[in-house]
């Protein structure tokens, strides 16, 4: 059982890390702010989500698991808000400069 969980952790965390890679590449390679934003948020939320998912079996106790999920939810909320706000700032005729 332990081993199965460990394998799950390794798989999920690896996949998560990969999404971070994807996000970074998108941020670096995509041509304009809006597409970059798109790449970034999709990737880092999925990445973080998979990492959290992978860590859940390793969590010691219920509270620790809840905290992990809470971290992910908060990051999701922050990410979504930031995307909205930044996208609007970009659309409003470019960033205020």
């Amino acid at each position: 059982m332990r081993q199965v969980l460990d394998i799950f952790t390794v798989a999920a965390v690896s996949a998560g890390a990969l999404f971070f890679l994807v996000g970074t590449v998108g941020l670096l390679r995509f041509p304009d702010p809006l597409t970059r934003l798109h790449a970034l948020t999709k990737a880092d939320n999925l990445g973080l989500g998979l990492v959290v998912l992978g860590l859940l079996p390793q969590a010691e106790g219920f509270l620790a698991g809840v905290k992990l999920v809470a971290v992910w939810l908060l990051a999701q909320l922050a990410g979504a808000t930031v995307t909205q706000l930044v996208a609007r700032a970009v659309r409003r005729g470019g960033p205020p400069a």
């Binding site: 909320l77 808000t81 909205q84 205020p96």
Partner: protein, 321 residues
């Protein structure tokens, strides 16, 4: 300590992290615009929080995450945006080459001196850890950092709260006279920003729970009054920025009482030590823990209000009576 591979992986991580911190710092110094520099600084604070975890100082990591990166970053970003019109002009006043060169040499010398000291073997490194550990049972406090802050070196913490209050009064003192006692900043227009308003509705309840948890856990694990207070302050700032709640009048009776209640209770307990224990800031045996927790609770309240108002700036509106 763990096996060879883990140690190596850890060391590689540490080396990368150190390099990253340096790179971000260099970026913040050389960045073309103040805004880029400030965003660099925000990431610097974030990376430092990771470093603190690597250095087994999670209490500090919490503080850095809340203050170093979070609230300080918000203050600096807002300032950079406001100051943009003046930037080109003040950036043009670069000092001459001789001064820059002299500063570079001086800074390099200081850095080299410090690096030399870091590399010099100084075994065994002195530590007050054992001394701090010996007295933890007397205080019934599990987190040694909390014990240092509220017992062994409590006078520092007390004076530092006065520093915070004076900094806030200093910020207020910059307001025009007619605004004295009024609320900071301009009233924010009713928010059309759905996303921001949503965030400001959803986040604070969670944030308050987290802040209280961090405060409460501080007695036995990393956390405590300052970290908890900083999180609460951040939530309050968010609500104010989003325009859901207006900043309070700085002259209001309740605000003033909230500001001073923490330090005042701390001071009062400290003075009571003259009577019921052996001296200023001494806690009577077996009452240490409840007293420390009581102090922390009121301190958290005051810290949250002070930090929130510090970030809000000087009064900018006339006081409604």
């Amino acid at each position: 300590m763990s096996t060879g591979f883990a140690l190596d992986a850890g060391l590689v991580l540490d080396a990368g992290l150190a390099a990253l911190v340096l790179a971000v710092a260099v970026g913040a110094i050389v960045a073309g615009t103040a805004f880029a520099a400030v965003v660099g600084f925000v990431t610097y604070g974030l990376l430092l929080a990771l470093v603190w975890v690597r250095l087994a100082a999670v209490d500090v990591a919490l503080t850095e995450a809340a203050i170093g990166s979070g609230v300080t970053g918000a203050v600096l970003i807002a300032a950079a945006a406001r100051l943009r019109p003046a930037e080109a002009r003040s950036a043009a006043e670069r000092p001459g080459v001789p001064l820059r060169l002299a500063a570079a040499v001086l800074s390099a010398l200081v850095a080299a001196g410090l690096a030399m000291l870091v590399l010099l073997p100084s075994a065994p490194a002195p530590s007050l850890g054992p001394a701090a550990a010996v007295h933890l049972p007397e205080l019934a406090i599990g987190n040694p950092v909390t014990a240092v802050l509220l017992a062994y070196r409590a006078i520092d913490t007390l004076l530092e709260k006065i520093v915070l209050l004076l900094a806030l009064l200093g910020v207020w003192s910059l307001a025009p006279d007619r605004f004295w006692g009024g609320a900071p900043g301009q009233p924010h227009a009713a928010q059309q920003d759905g996303a921001l308003a949503l965030l400001a509705r959803l986040l604070p309840p969670v944030g308050i729970v987290v802040g209280v948890y961090i405060l409460w856990v501080g007695a036995v694990a990393p956390g405590g009054a300052f970290q908890g207070g900083a999180i609460l302050a951040a939530m309050w700032i968010l609500v104010m920025i989003a325009g859901l709640r207006d900043a309070p009048a700085t002259g209001g009776r309740r605000v003033r009482l909230l500001l001073v209640v923490g330090p005042a209770v701390f001071l009062a307990v400290g003075l009571a030590g003259f009577v019921v224990a052996d001296g200023f800031l001494a806690y009577p045996a077996s009452y240490a823990k409840p007293l420390i927790i009581a102090i922390e609770v009121v301190l958290t309240l005051s810290i949250a209000v002070i930090l929130g108002l510090l970030a809000s700036g000087p009064p900018g509106r006339e006081r409604q009576r």
